[in-house]
Amino acid sequence: MLSFILKRTGLALLVAFTVSFISFSLLFMSGDPAAALAGETASGEDIEAIRRIYGFDRPMLVQYGEWLFSALRGDFGESYYFKLPVAGLIAERLQVTMTLGVCGITFALLTAVPLGVAAAIRPNSIIDRAALFLSVAGQAMPSFWFGLILIVVFAIQLGMLPPSGADSWRHFILPTIVLGYYAMPAIMRLTRAGMLDTLNSDYIRTARAKGAGEGRVLFKHALRNAIIPVVSLAAVQMGFMLGGSIVVESVFALHGAGYLAWESIARNDLPTVQALILVFSMFYIVFTLLADVLNAWLDPRMRSA
């Protein structure tokens, strides 16, 4: 198990390095940070001055090397836009995104897995149809629209929850529902399909024939196997939520890392984007790694894979 984890970690670091280099090159080619930095009111001459002062006129490899050297020492530089250390800026925004991501995936799993199991136990029943309806609706409904509907109902009409901001746990309820609901359909369908497959397999029939109770059959034998692909999916979804919660963060004015990434790209704020890409890719890598480990624990055959 240890060598499995070490091998995967080494691979993960290589991936992170590659991602950082590719993203730096792409950002370098994508536009002029000096123009974005100087703002709309700047003249060509002002932009030239900014380019010179901030060193954007140097070759890409020199700039990347400098960035990498500092990053390895834990220094991600200063945001061009905020003129503040990137590390502190990201740490602050990540708190919001992590809270939202963890709450979102928990909400998704807590609703999707029981629904998926219930739907699989009674295919084509009312529960199954209701679950299908919920999942189709979840996928079809744009997050910003769903978010606004929740704001109108719960914040304006009922006055129960704050419409936006991140000052207390109550501020996270509506965004969690929106984000979680977005991740829920895929998990629900995968759970349902996995359960259906397993429930029809020979070993379940054997277990039942041996007189095992229905609860034991469902949760000990079937769910343990059916959940394996769900773990991998949830890990990917979690990574996606951290980077991709832009819309939710924007609607609820949460100022998380996703929104920061989106805005920083538009502002050509290279140090911030670079650091965020690294952080997000590390998240994907870590979650995938965790999923692999968890799967290896659930299904020992995977350890040799």
Binding site: G39, S43, I53, F82, M160, P163, S164, D167, H255
Partner: protein, 501 residues
């Protein structure tokens, strides 16, 4: 179960909208954009200008109504020679941290921002200053690099005074997190990009800005306009601005809010490559083609149908309130027939195809394009990010584009016409005659002479149809009925002028 219900009900009651209203003397305001840094020399956004005017003061103050200059941190000023200004400073001013305001602060601020190595983002606001020296504790001389009469306007606008000891220690990052100024409001809390809490400065000097009337201003960044409106409805916001025309119209129909539309200094225009930088054979090097473009667009219709509010058709390459922005220039009425004739005369009886670029306000740009199509100019429409279009413009590869310019709220024609017609990298006309006249207008200390030369330059720009000036922009302010405020035409939100009814 009963207990659960009771807890839920209590939580629901406690969770009402955040208190921000007349009762606790807190005005809740929303910004749409994340402000980069409160230090006004290190941000280039409108929101930055708003905070700058609240937190800091300039040496001079321009009355937004009369456009007259009066002393603010300075009581008096005079030109010692063409490039030296001497200021006599007020003696009763203290910064928010208690530091007294003296000549040392002016000297430090000017020398810091004028030094290019310190990386001030808005270079054009400061790069005309050379240095400052102290004459005595309350007298200071500022040397300019060259003749620059608009200096007075800049000293009344973007050039604000910082505390020398504090700034030397804190630097731009520190100033961004804990701003210290002399202005009517002090900053009590900053969450970078997200929240700024201001509090009335009780020891504010006897400034022409007046004393703040509302004690607390709580500004939050809420990117989504719909969310802003929801907060306005729920009562957790009192003031929003830059509200799209259609939304403002709906809000105006309700009794709960005051909706005020005001002009801004932003001007929309079509820039054409008259200098042939994108190729000598490019049609826009032909004056007849440029005239055709000017005649092709029904600007009044655009203003009436799309921009609405206080927007107006513009004929000159500047904003009308700016000093030197004369209106006595050739104007081109909407006449598509004449436009077609001009195109035919220019050798394009069947029109031609061109790339057309824009970076904002897609609906306006698309409407303009449809007018051009109607006279036979077929366009390959390209909508780009602002910085990307800027780069192409600087490289001189853009034949025609829809652009806008806000002059950074500088009420002087040099902030617009001189920005684009003095052979800089964004000058698509490169007319030596215009350059010569603008050089005189920008550097003369005689107001009449300045106006005379701006007039000549602006008339020539219109005669040669280098641009097709389009319209001025407007913005909608929406606020609670409890709030009293009259917006000014320069799009600077002035908290100091706001009060409760």
């Amino acid at each position: 179960m009963k207990k659960l219900l009771r807890t839920t009900a209590l939580a629901a009651l406690a969770a009402g909208p955040a208190i921000a209203d007349k009762a606790d003397d807190t005005l809740a305001v929303a910004f749409t954009k994340e402000l980069e840094n409160v230090d006004s020399y290190f941000n280039s956004s409108r929101e930055g200008v708003v905070l700058q005017r609240a937190v800091w003061d300039g040496l001079i103050y321009r009355d937004p109504e009369t456009n007259e200059y009066v002393g603010n941190l300075a009581t008096d000023w005079e030109w010692i020679d063409d490039t030296t200004l001497e200021f006599t400073l007020r003696e009763d001013v203290t910064f928010h941290n208690g530091e007294p305001f003296t000549a040392d602060d002016v000297v430090y601020t000017v020398n810091f921002v004028a030094d290019e190595a310190n990386g001030v983002k808005t270079q054009r606001n400061v790069n005309w200053m050379d240095s400052a020296e102290k004459v005595d504790d309350y007298t200071v001389r500022i040397k300019l690099k060259d003749k620059f009469p608009a200096a007075i306007e800049f000293f009344s606008g973007p050039v604000s005074m910082y505390p020398d000891e504090y700034y030397a220690e804190a630097g731009p990052s520190g100033m961004g997190l804990k701003p210290v100024g002399t202005g009517p409001y002090k900053v009590v809390d900053v969450t970078p990009g997200q929240r700024f809490v201001l509090e009335k400065y009780e020891d504010y000097h006897d400034s022409p800005k007046g004393q703040a009337q509302i004690t607390n201003i709580d500004i939050r960044t809420i990117p989504d306009v719909n969310t802003q409106m929801a907060e306005l409805f729920s009562g957790s916001l009192d003031f929003i601005w830059q509200v799209p025309a259609d939304q403002a119209e709906k809000l105006a129909a309700m009794d709960r809010f005051t909706v005020v539309n005001a002009s801004t200094m932003r001007v929309g225009y079509i820039q054409m490559d008259a200098a042939g930088r994108s190729g000598e054979d490019n049609p826009f090097t032909n004056k007849l083609v440029r005239e055709a473009v000017n005649h092709a667009i029904n600007r009044q219709e655009l203003v009436d149908a799309l921009l609405q509010g206080e927007s107006a058709v513009i004929d000159t390459a500047c904003f009308p309130s700016q000093f030197g922005c004369v209106q006595d220039v050739k104007s081109y009425e909407y006449d598509p027939e004449k436009a077609r004739e001009l195109l035919a005369e220019a050798g394009y009886p069947d029109g031609f195809s061109t790339e057309f670029y824009a970076y904002r306000d897609r609906p306006y740009a698309e409407a303009i394009v449809s007018y051009l199509n109607a006279i036979g100019i077929q366009t390959d429409f390209k909508m780009l990010q602002y910085s990307a279009l800027r780069e192409l413009n600087m490289d001189g590869v853009v034949p025609i584009s829809f652009q806008t310019w806000g002059s950074y709220s500088i009420n002087d024609a040099s902030a617009m016409v001189s920005q684009y017609f003095k052979h800089g990298s964004l000058d698509s006309a490169r007319d030596d005659q215009v350059l010569e006249w603008l050089n005189v207008a920008d550097s003369s200390t005689d107001s009449d002479e300045r106006i005379e030369y701006y007039t000549m330059a602006l008339q020539r720009i219109a005669d040669e149809a280098y641009w097709a000036p389009m319209f001025s922009y407007n913005t909608n302010y929406v606020f609670s009925r409890e709030v009293e405020y009259q917006p000014t035409p320069d799009e600077v939100l002035r908290f100091v002028d706001m009060s409760w009814k």
